[in-house]
Amino acid sequence: MNPPMFGARHKRNEDPRLLTGQAQFVDDVRLPDALHVAFKRSDYAHARLLNVEVAAARAMPGVVAVYTAADLGEFWQPSPLLVPPPPTQHIVFNGRTAGQLARDKVRFVGEPVVMIVATSRYVAEDAAELVEIDYAPLPAVVDLEAALDPGAPLVHEDVGSNMAAHVIQRKGDYTAAQAEAAVTIRRRFLYDRGTAAPMEGRGVVAQWDALARHLTVWDSTQAPIPIRNGLARMLGLSERQVRVVAPFVGGGFGPKIMMFYPEETLVPWAAMQLNRPVKWIEDRLENFVAMTHERGQVHDSEIALTADGLILGVKDVFLHDTGAYDPYGLTVPLNTQCTLLGPYVIPHYYTEFKAVFTNKTIVTPYRGAGRQHGVFVIERLLDLAARELGLDVAEIRRRNLIPPDAFPYNNGIIFQDFTTLTYDSGNYAPVLDKTLAMIGWDRFEQEEGPRLRAGGQKVGIGLVMYVEGTGIGPYEGARIQIEPSGKVTVVTGVGTQGQGHYTVFAQIAAEVLGVALADVFVSTGDTGQFNWGTGTFASRGAVVAGSAVHEAALLVRAKAIKLAAEALETDEANVELVGGYAQVRGVATARVSLAELAGRANPLRGAVRPGTEPGLEATAYFGPPMGATAMGAHAMIVAVDPETYNLKIHKYVAVHDCGRVINPLLVEGQVQGGIAQGIGNAFYEQLIYDESGQLLNASFMDYLLPTAGDVPHIDIGHEETPSPLNPLGVKGAGEAGAIPVGPLFAQALEYALADTGIEICEIPLSPSRLWELVEAARAAGVGPANP
């Protein structure tokens, strides 16, 4: 018997290298004679560039090259539009992308203006200090609503307004449904900006081999293959002349898939110009302003319900802050529109957004990628409706859940992958039940809550639910080979940023091929190893690339069994793969090793039958017809310090259904880490811009990431509803933890502070913001609310 692979808590193959400091990150690539880059970036959010004076910088000893936009010549070009809008009618979309270095005008603080290449980063930064830029400041576009006022300053004059996009989607007839409603709730909801803050910033190292005419680029990217393809095109090279390696990447979370960042094209270009290796490593200040952000939205929302609390319809009209450019198209606001529907039956839905250009850092997906906002709106609306109707927050959700016999469930609107949003499978009530049981809902309501509150504690409980579209196409691929050593290599094109792909892909292959986990070597993120693929985003690695690994493993298994059947003189149906051997089923003595078979499959002499491919190797691709829908529920018990408004989370429960689980140890890690980011988003992290478009808190001293003292122990429960869309039955898990935390905080904190009557319609919160809300409620004479 082979040891269990699928579903087992295997520790990770990649960890020993990471633990001993021997894993290579981009900044660990050390090349002889390398040059180092610093950028002079815009200090203004919005200004005309009158003059850029670089003579003093060029003259500094150690400086090898200084480039402005004018120096780039024909290489200067706006970045390609990464994600076009969906091919549907009635969509307004104004795509504007940035050139590598600003010319004529700067549009956000941190936009690169000058590139300096020097013998060390220290010298390059010294030289950047000598660059003199003459700006004519323009009024900055910061506020989303003011941006659309007639007469507002324009981020892109040629667009004629600051509207980047306008999209309306409809399901049913909300207006008619609302006319029948017993209760309609209307509110404005705010969700402000944050940053992904991977512990490793971005980084690019490029080496041009002029004799071989070959370019190698190490890039901390989530999408090495598209980067390779685009670089080849932009640099006038064949794709086979460019190798992009995403080595170990120190966290991605979305922003490391923004093709193309200016630095990503400039560094390889400079390496070719100068014929020397060139390295740029982003520092933290740069990361705050120049790596993409997420999350600024303003929603005007309403929900219409029957007297029994059944949802008749939802109307949601929102503004989405896309920042100074919109290379990632409509992915984030489309996710918002779609994810708002949640696990609920919403017969009528009107959703409209305008994406708005502002003089702020570009917005692209960050873990959750717009899903948070939609979940915040629907969950808050349900909470407010429950209060209005005198229903329990769990009960109003239960009444509206999509029933298990309704799948596949067509929501009738367009998702970010341009397919009609359809939930593949689900069974939601057991997730709700398990969450309530694990948090101890009844015990809290009946005993614990009243006792703690009687003792003066401001303590509350909360419960939220969500769905998450995961595992979207178009496709990924994998190549698997059994080597003559008997060891197995798995090669795929997706990049990895800590998810554990080296282990889960090995588990999938090991199970099919009957080998030990440690005997499977996985290569990801190296275009020299695999030629096709898109990248790691939308919680799709395990679903899409994992399924491709499975398909390739099955093909290799068939080849091995065919050869083994000949060697063992038996039928193929009689052969099984166990412990690195092919053997006659149940007869451990009649066997041949996979190593031996790999040798036989690649003979050095003799005739090979026509149609035979050498080696025990196969390549397979997998593309799902649409995304797989994961879902879950979170609950927590939290106490608020009445003096400081600091929080103490007494208990946090997450119950999660991501289909079949390949490795529970890793899925739990993903959920825990996602929740930690969700907690940061809900209560600690907010990018603060002033009216001139300056980011005021661009450091870890001022922008607070949650620490070990802020993130509680999290209890995780699993439900498994397999996806019918892939052979493994898996759904994505990477983003789930981060998605529902905001509304959970809002609900539980309203409960804890029920005596003040506050209503929380915004994220992020903070101790001082909670205090402000309480004071505002007091001043307005709001009475206590029923928790």
């Binding site: 990649e14 960890d15 400091g21 021997q22 990150f25 170990f248 120190g250 930690a676 450091s699 870890f700």
Partner: protein
């Protein structure tokens, strides 16, 4: 300022190098000595990824100049285990507890915890979390790091009792 010659030991080995006074210890370790296991996450002393030992005390290598380490002993993650197949018990506990995901912050956590466990062989969860609070991890949510510290501490106490 003129360059200075400095002599220091790193993981028990003595190095003499000529260096700019403004060179950070983190850059010195990574670029001059090639010890790239020490990572740089923020360069303003908050994230803790660059934590190394200076005469046995955990310090931020990004807030220390290389010249300040002249005459002192520096310990980095490379000193904990000479081979990925022969992990330090703390590294082993991180592995078994899934205490790392992207692994970028991990060397800093390990170097923070080495002196902590020397001084606190039987820490409570609150003490562990306080000890970790100067290191940022964006992937794990800390829970499995806390578990790893507990596991390492428990094994270490067991070893001490059996005299291993």
């Amino acid at each position: 300022m003129t360059d200075r010659e400095i002599t220091l030991t790193v993981n028990g080995r003595e190095y003499t190098r000529t260096t700019e006074p403004r060179l950070l210890l983190s850059d010195f370790l990574r670029h001059d000595l090639g010890l790239t296991g020490t990572h740089v996450g923020c360069e303003h002393g908050v994230c803790g990824a660059c934590t190394v030992l200076l005469d046995g005390v955990a310090v931020r290598a990004c807030l220390t100049f290389a010249v300040q380490a002249h005459g002192h002993a520096v310990g980095t993650v490379e000193g904990l285990a000479s081979d990925p197949a022969d992990l330090h018990p703390l590294q082993q506990a991180f592995w078994e507890s899934h205490g790392l995901q992207c692994g970028f912050c991990t060397p800093g956590f390990l170097m923070t915890l080495i002196p902590f466990l020397d001084e606190n062989p039987d820490p409570t969860e609150d003490e562990i979390r306080a000890a970790l609070s100067g290191n940022l991890c964006r992937c794990t949510g800390y829970q499995n790091i806390v578990e790893a510290v507990r596991l390492a501490a428990a094994r270490r106490r067991l070893d001490v009792r059996v005299g291993a």
